[in-house]
């Protein structure tokens, strides 16, 4: 019996978010019949989609966004609890499944956890979920007492009837509250009344991370499960030609060798090591295809040609930059380049699938449960109501586990060849390095114009390189233009540039090599901030001005940008002498709705061949700060991610494939290199959309360090990583 509508490919294309930030969805989300409200795991009815309250007053808060270390579940719980008035000590959280969400018309909203939007894009409806539940709980108590709800208040899960002093608890009235109609028009608190939002609440998810108890996707065990590991064609666009399973079928523990789609082959065994050993021994023939001729040098040449190409998409323009350059008394020009980068989250890609002809279940660490669901539906070939996805907390995501669900598709395709047996697909680190969704490659030529009085009269910034959207969500392109390419450089909005330049042209010559691009923490602000903020330092130097003064003169119309810059300059002691041998640099940007700035103090050793980063002061204005302690941890962590890239990381292409294989060739900084990070969290409030936290600051560390390196040595480095210049991180 199947009364459900068939899967509609166009059922649910969520694509309007192109201007909204880092990640935007473009997959088709299949329709599914509406079902009854979801009971909590132990069968207790919900108050509403967000809140379940158990008889012992335990509060279960449900949320769609994924926890990958960034603290989003704690922050979202703070938002709910602020309005729910329950006891924080009794709060737990759970994930609704994407299948439930689809069945309930996406009642939990967007599952996508990227673009630093876990909190900023959901705070209103999540707070409303808490407020509505509180209203229903109070109403249920009032009904029980036969008094008006207006005479009752709730605090810490206790409801009090003010005139009589009678009390009851949430747990006691929850069953009655669950039966009430959902009230309309509940009012949210004024931010001035907040007592939990804005406080450094302890994370809800720490305890099991220190004792080995926490189960990640890679740790999952199901009865009778096999472990698979996979090799995809090393050259993207190539195909699997053949493999000789007989050569490995006799090896211990090996159960099956299967093709996966047209491009990959997997070995299934009783343990990972046995699967990997057999896969390494398996003779495989690839048809690598045309892309096998591509090298990094060829890509670089192609991008270089784009720096002067006549046609380009315009991302931001005012005045007449070309005329200003033509009439300049003095011109300054520089070319920068930023490489491909792998996300390399600590937990390699994995997914576990159990397929039978009438059901497909998938367990997966994912930044986007709905994208995983869509991939599982497509790969299984089953109708949506026969598919379910269970989200697992991630061992890091950084953008790799959002829109790209290649590992889910693979796991399902493998499990289909082993019906009834759960299969955990776990990639090797080498597979992860070779089959990433890489930070896009980009070059940039900047030309600045000065008049005879050393006033900046114009700037042309030409980007040449890869578009993420063109590859991933082409439906989000704006007449062919990828607006995300211009993150941090927009005329206004979440990624607004912080300078007013009389004649400005920022444009992009789009060039898309075959290497698959993706959303890498911070996305395009990583390179744009280096390009703009290092070049502004070059312009300041050409004008003989202090880098801070030079910037501030261009920032009169951008008070919030200037405020974060001023904050870091003051804290680092800009304008006052630094310790002997210590040099400073600055950078700022607005990204994902937050204003961020950094000031770095470095010294150079070994004749400029090593940089010691002593201290970075970072300011963040997210407008509203939900958990300042977690923001500080995200900021210092983002610098580890960003500085590791600056000093060590690039993915190069040879014979069409990525050359780096593991952390020996794609290094990541260690504790010895960690600078002291001082965070200034300075929420300025207001009515603009809230800013995000996970990504914005990542972009300001690198240019601040590079500008300090120039101050120390007089050398401008314009291509990355620094190891290619023989510069180490001391």
């Amino acid at each position: 019996m199947n009364s459900l509508p068939p899967i509609s490919r166009r059922a649910f294309v969520i694509g309007a978010a192109a201007l909204g930030g880092g990640l935007s969805l473009g997959f088709a989300l299949p329709a599914r019949a509406q079902t009854a409200p979801v009971l909590s795991k132990d069968g207790i009815p919900e108050i509403n989609a967000w809140v379940v309250i158990k008889p012992d007053d335990t509060v279960v808060i449900r949320m769609a966004r994924s926890e990958m270390g960034q603290g989003t579940i704690t922050g979202l719980a703070q938002l709910v609890v602020e309005e729910l008035h329950c006891d924080w000590a009794k709060v737990t959280t759970e994930y609704p499944t994407p299948g439930q969400s689809v069945a309930r018309k996406r009642i939990w909203g967007d599952f996508s956890t990227g673009g630093s939007r876990g909190i900023r894009a959901s705070h209103e409806y999540v707070r409303m979920g808490g407020a509505t539940a509180r209203t229903m709980l109070i109403q249920a108590a009032a009904n029980g007492w036969g008094v008006p709800a207006s005479e009752c208040v709730a605090a810490k899960s206790v409801i009090t009837h003010k005139p009589s002093g009678r009390t009851t608890s949430y747990g006691k009235v929850a069953l009655d509250a669950a039966k009430l109609p959902v009230p309309e028009g509940v009012k949210l608190k004024d931010p001035k009344e907040w007592t939990i939002i804005g406080k450094p609440m302890k994370r809800l998810d720490t305890a099991d991370k220190v004792n080995g108890k926490k189960i990640y996707g890679a740790d999952l065990k199901l009865p009778g499960m096999l472990t698979a590991t996979i090799k995809d064609c090393p050259v993207t666009g190539g195909k699997l030609k053949s493999f000789d399973a007989a050569k490995v079928m006799g090896l211990k523990g090996v159960k099956k060798v299967v093709p996966v789609g047209e491009t990959a082959v997997a070995v299934l065994a009783d343990t990972f090591w046995r699967a990997k050993t057999a896969l390494d021994a398996l003779p495989i023939v690839w048809d690598e295809g045309e892309n096998a001729k591509v090298s990094s040098a060829a890509i670089a040449d192609w991008l270089k040609a784009g720096l002067d190409a006549p046609e380009a998409f315009v991302g931001n323009a005012n005045g007449d930059a070309k005329a200003a350059l033509a009439g300049a008394a003095k011109k300054v020009e520089a070319v920068y380049a930023y490489p491909y980068l792998n996300h390399a989250p600590m937990e390699p890609m994995n997914a576990t699938a159990l397929y039978t002809p009438d059901k497909c279940e998938v367990w997966v660490p994912t930044q986007n449960g709905e994208a995983s669901f869509a991939a599982a539906v497509a790969a299984s070939g089953l109708p949506a109501d026969k598919v379910e996805v269970y989200k697992i907390d991630l061992g890091g995501g950084f953008g790799r586990r959002g829109g790209f669900q290649d590992y889910v598709s693979q796991a399902v395709l493998i499990a289909k060849q082993m019906p009834g047996t759960p299969v955990k697909l776990l990639w090797t680190r080498e597979e992860d390095m070779q089959h990433g969704r890489y930070h896009p490659i980009m070059q940039c030529k900047l030309v600045g114009a000065f008049d005879a009085q050393n006033n900046l009269t114009g700037l042309h910034m030409r980007l040449s390189g890869q578009s993420i959207l063109a590859s991933v969500f082409p439906q989000n392109l704006d007449k062919g233009k990828d607006n995300l390419t211009f993150q941090g450089l927009w005329p206004a909005g979440d990624f607004a540039i912080g300078y007013t330049i009389p004649n400005l042209l920022i444009d992009h010559s789009m060039r898309n090599p075959h290497i698959l691009p993706g959303f890498w923490r911070g996305v395009n602000i990583n390179q744009n901030c280096i390009f703009l903020e290092c070049f502004l330092d070059e312009l300041a130097q050409a004008a003989g001005q202090d880098p801070l003064d030079f910037r501030r003169k261009l920032m009169g119309n951008h008070p919030k940008h200037r405020a974060v810059l001023d904050a870091v300059a003051e804290r680092i002691g800009w304008g006052k002498p630094a310790a002997k041998g210590v040099h400073r640099g600055l950078a700022q940007m607005k990204a994902f709705g937050s204003y961020v700035a950094a000031a770095a103090e470095i010294s150079v050793e070994d004749g400029g061949k090593a940089i010691r980063v002593h201290r970075i002061v970072a300011a963040t204005d997210p407008l509203y700060a939900v958990n300042p302690a977690q923001i500080e941890r995200q900021v210092s962590g983002s610098f580890v991610y960003g500085l590791s890239a600056l000093f060590y990381q690039e993915c190069t292409v040879k014979d069409g494939r990525i050359e780096q294989a593991n952390f020996d060739s794609f290094n990541s900084m260690r504790i010895a290199q960690m600078p002291k990070v001082e965070s200034i969290v300075m929420p300025s409030g207001g009515t603009e959309p809230w800013g995000g936290v996970g990504e914005p600051t990542i972009c300001v560390a690198a240019p601040a360090v590079l500008n300090a390196y120039f101050a120390a040595t007089g050398r401008r480095i314009r291509t990355f990583p620094l190891k290619n210049h023989g510069i180490a991180m001391a």
């Binding site: 990972f272 680190r429 210092s636 962590g637 580890v640 260690r670 504790i671 010895a672």
Partner: protein
């Protein structure tokens, strides 16, 4: 067959002696707190103690661990009492995603066993674990707080 002693308990498992200890611990014995991050000794996610020494279990064959006392993150607490570093980790909310933290804690526990109050320089020298979430600042603060109290 191989006999391994892990967290004080003896396990007889059917495993090839050249299998990395990491996979014997995870897949044959079923203790999954010890993580796979790189498999080549670079990241430290797989750190365990062998006779009190911190080692990267992905790079030690089972055959080399026979007859030795192996401790994993699951055995770091003694009689249900968390190690002081585990307590400090909770107090400081050190873990972000947490995936690297078993290895981080095991590496640091071995350090403080020998060097009860490590200086920054001693931490820097001994601890070369990768943490992609970048928890180093919190790690350092928590170690100092736990050992200088």
């Amino acid at each position: 067959m191989a006999r391994l002693t892990i967290n004080g308990k003896t396990h007889d498992i059917d495993v090839e002696p050249d299998t990395p200890l990491l996979w014997a611990i995870r897949d044959h014995i079923g203790l999954t707190g010890t993580k796979y991050g790189c498999g080549i000794g670079e990241c430290g996610s797989c750190t365990v103690h062998i006779d009190g020494q911190a080692v990267r279990s992905c790079s030690v064959p089972v055959g080399a661990a026979l007859g030795k006392a192996i401790t994993t993150i699951e055995g770091l607490a003694v009689n249900g009492v968390l190690h002081k570093l585990q307590q400090a980790w909770i107090q400081h909310d050190v873990p972000q995603c947490g995936y690297c933290q078993s290895g981080m804690l095991m590496a640091l526990a071995a350090l403080v066993a020998k060097t009860p109050r490590p200086t920054d320089a001693e931490i820097d020298k001994a601890i070369t674990n990768i943490c992609r979430c970048g928890t180093f600042q919190q790690v350092r603060d928590a170690v100092h707080n736990a050992t200088r109290a």
